[in-house]
């Protein structure tokens, strides 16, 4: 496969849920391509950003329905893939990290076993080899004493460490694409920066692509290469991360203006007035 072909090709992605008044569309025709880069998807709650991330792995819960003109991962149609094939892709080729480690880790299994299990599911490695790889991975996400942390249960580790453990578990099968859904929102700012540095390094060292879903505009602007801004299930604007400050769409501009800033004097913040026309583009 040519290396310049996109990792992910999404065209006219739609996610709909049945309601009493008919189908409600959470994602309404999202299209983008992703190479080996960090793509940020930003939006407020209900904008469809998380559903976009989940639908790539076909993790939208029923009765939700996903459709697209094209949803291809390295040329392979994900919507047509069998359930068995999807299980193979999930974790091994495309991994996902969710927001809160408290709810994503198995509470009655040591963290080391969970990481080793993630490795064994996708390889033929034996228990000893899996443990060795798990310890390596814990060290790669900068956990100082991997041997000790390996035997801990999730409730015995801090939030920042829990999120690093999640990342270790997701990256141990060496995926080509990582979908990170608010991976650092539950963390303190300094820990957040340290976790982002780990993700950043792993992306550049492994040539992994990443979709970074977040509500935090400044964070995405400083961390990602490219940004999609979503509003009401649509991408209203896309730009290079470094050019977010020059965004054109009134929604993006309104969001940026409504953020308080440390270096600005106190005073009323501009409030976003939502234009119904934004719903259509």
């Amino acid at each position: 496969m040519a290396d310049n072909s996109p990792l992910l090709d999404v065209s006219n992605l739609r996610v709909a849920f049945p309601t009493r008044t008919g189908m409600a569309e959470a994602v309404r025709g999202v299209s983008f391509t992703l190479g080996r880069e960090k793509l940020g998807i930003v939006g407020e709650s209900g904008s469809g950003k998380s559903m976009t991330g989940r639908s790539i792995l076909r993790l939208v819960p029923p009765p939700g329905r996903v459709s697209a003109d094209r949803l291809a991962f390295r040329g392979e149609d994900l919507l047509a893939a069998s359930a068995r094939r999807m299980r193979d892709i999930r974790g091994r080729r495309i991994a996902i990290v969710m927001q809160d480690p408290k709810y994503s880790l198995n509470p009655v299994m040591t963290v080391g076993h969970q990481i080793a299990e993630a490795y064994r599911v996708h390889s033929k490695a034996g228990a000893a080899e899996a443990k060795r790889r798990a310890l390596e991975m814990l060290a790669a996400v900068r956990i100082r004493d991997p041997e000790r942390v390996y035997d801990r249960y999730p409730h015995e580790v801090s939030g920042g460490m829990g999120q690093r453990i999640m990342i270790a578990m997701m990256l141990i099968p060496d995926p080509d694409l990582l979908i990170a859904d608010e991976p650092t929102s539950a963390l303190d700012v300094t820990v957040q920066m340290q976790v982002l540095a780990i993700l950043d390094d792993l992306c550049s060292q492994r040539g992994m692509g990443m979709i970074f879903v977040s509500h935090d505009l400044n964070l995405v602007a400083s961390f990602c290469d490219r940004i999609l801004i979503m509003y009401a299930g649509r991408v209203v604007e896309s730009c290079r991360a470094s050019e977010l400050h020059a965004a054109q769409h009134p929604y993006t501009r309104g969001l940026l203006a409504s953020l308080p800033r440390i270096d600005e004097p106190p005073g009323d913040l501009p409030v976003l007035s939502r234009d119904p026309a934004w719903l259509e583009g």
Partner: protein, 259 residues
């Protein structure tokens, strides 16, 4: 001084499991001032607020509010003077009570009377208006719920409002509306605000002065002007400031733990 705290200590647990959540904090807030209490999780900032509000009675030291020394258990009159708004408007409103009933309860507890006019006035005050009066919390957006929570605190016409991360659960566009509302209410009612948050930008927008906490201790106090200029004295505060300025690979590398 509206709030005067001397050598406040709060411990949880017993024996070897004892955790000192607040370790000798001394600070004071002037009448009409807006004061920010900043720190990361586990710094003890919310615990200080909960001790002042009377939600936590396991503390030692001295807490005085409006010149009156407070014991662990508060008199009813204290809550007429000092009210609190919580982080999560999804959890802090009774899901089966209408807005009207939520607002009527504190009026009844304090025997204030004239509930109808008070509720009508306070709803207008927080920008909701009478059409919201007979709705249930699930019929409201997050921002509207937080306005109801603020209305519930204001309906007693307190002089002090304690705010525990009041905008952290809200979208940024809604956060801006709530910050603007709090600023207007402070001006109109001459309120004293104590705002607990992890967000330095929110403090810069709403407060006059702030204290930074880390691991139960007060690291430093500063004016918001100093914060804006980045003129912090303590390395911990400087690190917090750098971390608030977005992701930078080299900066992330420089972070360390401050005990």
């Amino acid at each position: 001084m509206m709030i005067d705290i001397r050598d406040l200590r709060v411990r949880f647990g017993q024996g070897v499991d004892t955790v000192t959540a607040v370790d000798g904090v001394t600070l004071s807030v002037r009448e009409g001032e807006s004061f920010g209490l900043v720190g990361e999780s586990g710094s003890g900032k919310s615990t200080v607020l909960r001790a002042v509000s009377g939600l936590n009675d396991e503390w030692t030291g001295r807490i005085a509010v409006a010149g009156t020394e407070q014991g662990p258990v508060r008199q009813k009159g204290f809550y007429k003077l000092c009210q609190m708004v919580f982080q999560d408007p999804y959890g802090s409103l009774h899901p089966r009570h209408t807005v009207d009933r939520i607002l009527a309860e504190p009026i009844a507890i304090h025997g204030l009377g004239d509930a109808d006019a008070r509720i009508d006035r306070v709803l207008r005050d927080v920008g909701l208006g009478p059409s919201f009066r007979f709705r249930y919390p699930h019929q409201l957006s997050g921002g509207q719920r937080q306005r109801v929570a603020i209305a519930r605190a204001l309906v007693l016409e307190p002089r002090v409002l304690l705010l525990d991360e009041p905008t952290s659960a809200l979208d940024v566009s809604v956060q801006a509306e709530i910050l603007n509302l709090l600023r207007r209410l402070r001006m109109e009612h001459g309120l004293t605000l104590v705002l607990v948050t992890h967000n330095l930008a929110v403090v810069a927008n709403l407060c006059d002065r702030l204290a930074v906490m880390n691991r139960g201790r007060l690291v430093e106090e500063m004016s918001v002007e100093d914060l804006r200029r980045g003129a912090a004295r303590e390395p911990y505060t400087l690190q917090l400031l750098r971390a608030s300025q977005g992701y930078d690979r080299a900066t992330a590398e420089s972070f360390r733990d401050y005990a």
